[in-house]
């Protein structure tokens, strides 16, 4: 089975090297998004940051989530943002500068906030996963497409097999709500963004 191959690839020492590489790329590109001045460069760094985050998802055995991240975020949302840049900028390198005092203040606040978050993360002792836990075993296999699809359809064989008499609800109703929500959002966005009238002077 291919899942054992993926498991061994993630458990090998090469997995942690890959994790360090992609984690560094994701974090440094996120910092570069904040530091970049023109919005086109921000979009470029954001593509790199989101792409290496998708690689982190693959390393965490979440293959479908990583693929969805690549398809929807990097392929869809970023293209949408770049279209927004094209439609709203008078030139490709429009620069709306932040004053240096605000940059320094933002950096100080960012460092303090990061210290708070890291301190609170390291202050908690997270529970180790139980080996006998069926749900954890399902995800460490790395082949998540079929359990995810079944969960979206409202059945959870991974949890129903665990405790037998109690059926877990699944995610059919949130899935339908999100579908209707996407339809409403698409119609609403098309209605909002249609060309009505230009301001005087264009």
């Amino acid at each position: 089975m291919s899942s054992t191959l993926m498991l061994s690839a993630a458990a090998a020492p090469g997995g942690s090297v890959l994790f360090v590489i992609f984690a560094l790329v994701a974090c440094l590109c996120a910092v570069a998004v904040v530091a970049a001045q023109t919005v086109v460069r921000m979009a470029f760094w954001l593509v790199l940051s989101l792409g290496s985050t998708a690689a982190l998802f693959f390393l965490a055995d979440a293959d479908f989530v990583g693929a969805a991240q690549l398809l929807i975020y990097v392929g869809g949302t970023l293209v949408l943002l770049v279209f927004g840049v094209m439609l709203t900028a008078s030139g490709p390198y429009l620069k709306i500068a932040t004053s240096p005092g605000e940059i320094i203040l933002g950096a100080v606040v960012a460092l303090l906030f990061l210290c708070v978050v890291v301190a609170s993360i390291s202050g908690v002792s997270w529970p180790e996963p139980q080996v006998s836990d069926v749900g954890a075993l399902q995800t460490t296999a790395g082949n998540t497409l079929r359990p995810l699809g079944l969960a979206f359809l409202g059945t959870r064989p991974d949890q129903d097999l665990a405790d037998g008499d109690q059926l877990s609800p699944g995610y059919l109703l949130p899935f339908e709500i999100v579908s209707i929500h996407l339809l409403v959002v698409l119609i609403g966005a098309a209605y909002l963004a249609r060309a009505k009238r230009r301001a005087v002077g264009t």
């Binding site: 975020y73 949302t77 927004g84 709203t88 959002v185 963004a193």
Partner: protein, 100 residues
């Protein structure tokens, strides 16, 4: 890798997104900060899905987050286009019509 390494990456992405939202004056830049924040939360969900007893639920929640982020980006871009049509700029500091 352990759980706290993933949480550290998520924390860095989250803080970068918050600072991006707070300091950028370009409206599209603020949107990119929102994307970074949601992405940091997604990293946390996937990490908890792998390293704790949360199981598959974390990945499902992160899929919902990805889809809702796409919807949010579409609506926010429509609002940004309307803003640009009315103000001829995307600078959010110019949006002070409602200031008392």
């Amino acid at each position: 890798m352990s759980l706290s390494a993933y949480l550290l990456v998520g924390a860095v992405l989250f803080v970068c997104g918050i600072v991006c939202m707070a300091t950028k004056r370009n409206g599209i830049g603020v949107l990119m900060g929102v994307e970074l924040v949601l992405n940091g939360a997604n990293v946390n969900f996937v990490a908890f899905s792998k390293y704790t007893q949360l199981g598959l639920d974390g990945q499902i929640i992160s899929l919902f987050v990805i889809v809702l982020a796409a919807a949010e980006a579409a609506v926010a871009l429509a609002i940004a286009l309307n803003f640009y049509n009315n103000h001829l700029t995307i600078d959010v500091d110019r949006a002070n019509k409602l200031k008392g």
